[in-house]
């Protein structure tokens, strides 16, 4: 992808093949999803800072506008995507921490923990939204 003028192209160093070279596998798809959700969460974290700043301004109108936006269909879509990404990245991150400590590398274990991450993500997302919607209709 590097332009011809870039140092990487000039030196003709071998680069590892891009993702699209390989046939996608269950575990490799989870791996790239960890990175994608990480990028999404980095962008979504801007919302955290904005939320805190908006509360600190002490302007109820501004706060109402912010919560109104989040409560609208687009805001909810963002929050849904954000919560799925958060729970996935959190659970798969724990899986990564176990790998870092040297556990769970066996293929069968890695497959099982992958399913656990997917199931856990779905479970926590449904749980969070169930409680969230309960709060709304309380």
């Amino acid at each position: 992808m590097a332009p011809e003028t870039s140092p990487a192209a000039k030196s003709k160093r071998p680069l590892s093949p891009h993702l699209q070279i390989y046939k996608p596998q269950f575990t490799s798809v989870l791996s790239i999803t960890h990175r994608l959700t990480g990028i999404a969460l980095a962008v979504g974290t801007v919302l955290l800072a904005v939320w805190i700043v908006v509360v600190a301004t002490g302007a109820p109108d501004l706060y109402a506008g912010f919560t109104g936006f989040l409560g609208g269909w687009f805001g909810r879509l963002l929050l849904l995507g954000w919560s799925v990404a958060l729970f996935y990245h959190l659970l798969n991150g724990i899986r990564h921490l176990f790998w870092d400590a040297g556990y769970g590398f066996e293929l069968a274990t890695a497959q099982k923990s992958a399913y656990a991450v997917l199931f856990g993500t779905a479970f926590l997302t449904v749980l969070a939204w169930w409680f969230g919607l309960m709060m709304e209709f309380r």
């Binding site: 992808m1 590097a2 332009p3 870039s6 140092p7 990487a8 192209a9 990175r35 990480g38 990028i39 969460l41 980095a42 974290t45 801007v46 955290l48 800072a49 805190i52 700043v53 509360v55 600190a56 002490g58 109820p60 706060y63 109402a64 919560s83 958060l86 959190l90 991150g93 724990i94 990564h96 921490l97 870092d100 969070a128 409680f131 969230g132 709060m135 709304e136 309380r138």
Partner: protein, 132 residues
């Protein structure tokens, strides 16, 4: 196989990135901190759904919440900056563009974290006067 690395370089153990394993460790330690902090945050935010501005400010201004929220802000922006840095280093190959992107992300994370921390302090101080 004989190593081409000098004895001093080997002793320092900093490698080609010049900061050794610091990035790797910082990424893991912030990740570990974010496991309880993000769960605490999600549970509390769900509890604040539909709450009026004052109630949210009072929650943020409580010393325990202010402290944990500040911890979350520091850990999450540090973790995000480290993560995005790796993505940029992997996919942006032009040196100038790479440097610009890295500095931009670093600046954004620093400023957003600073804004959030100053806001938490402001709420914590001001909320005392709203109590009565």
């Amino acid at each position: 196989m004989a190593s081409l690395r000098s004895a001093l370089g080997r002793a320092r153990g900093l490698g080609s990135a010049k900061d050794g394993t610091h990035h790797w460790w910082a990424q893991r330690i912030t990740a570990l901190a974010l496991v309880p902090l993000s769960l605490w945050f999600v549970v509390n935010v769900i509890g604040l759904i539909g709450a009026p501005h004052l109630a949210v400010a009072q929650w943020m201004g409580h010393p325990v919440n202010a402290c944990l929220l500040a911890g979350l802000v520091v850990a999450v922006f540090h973790h995000a900056q480290l993560g995005i840095q790796v993505v940029i280093e992997d996919y942006v190959h032009g040196e100038g563009l790479k440097l610009a992107a890295l500095l931009l992300v670093k600046a954004a994370c620093w400023l957003l974290a600073a804004a959030a921390l100053i806001s938490i302090i402001r709420i914590s101080v001001l909320i005392v006067f709203f109590k009565g």
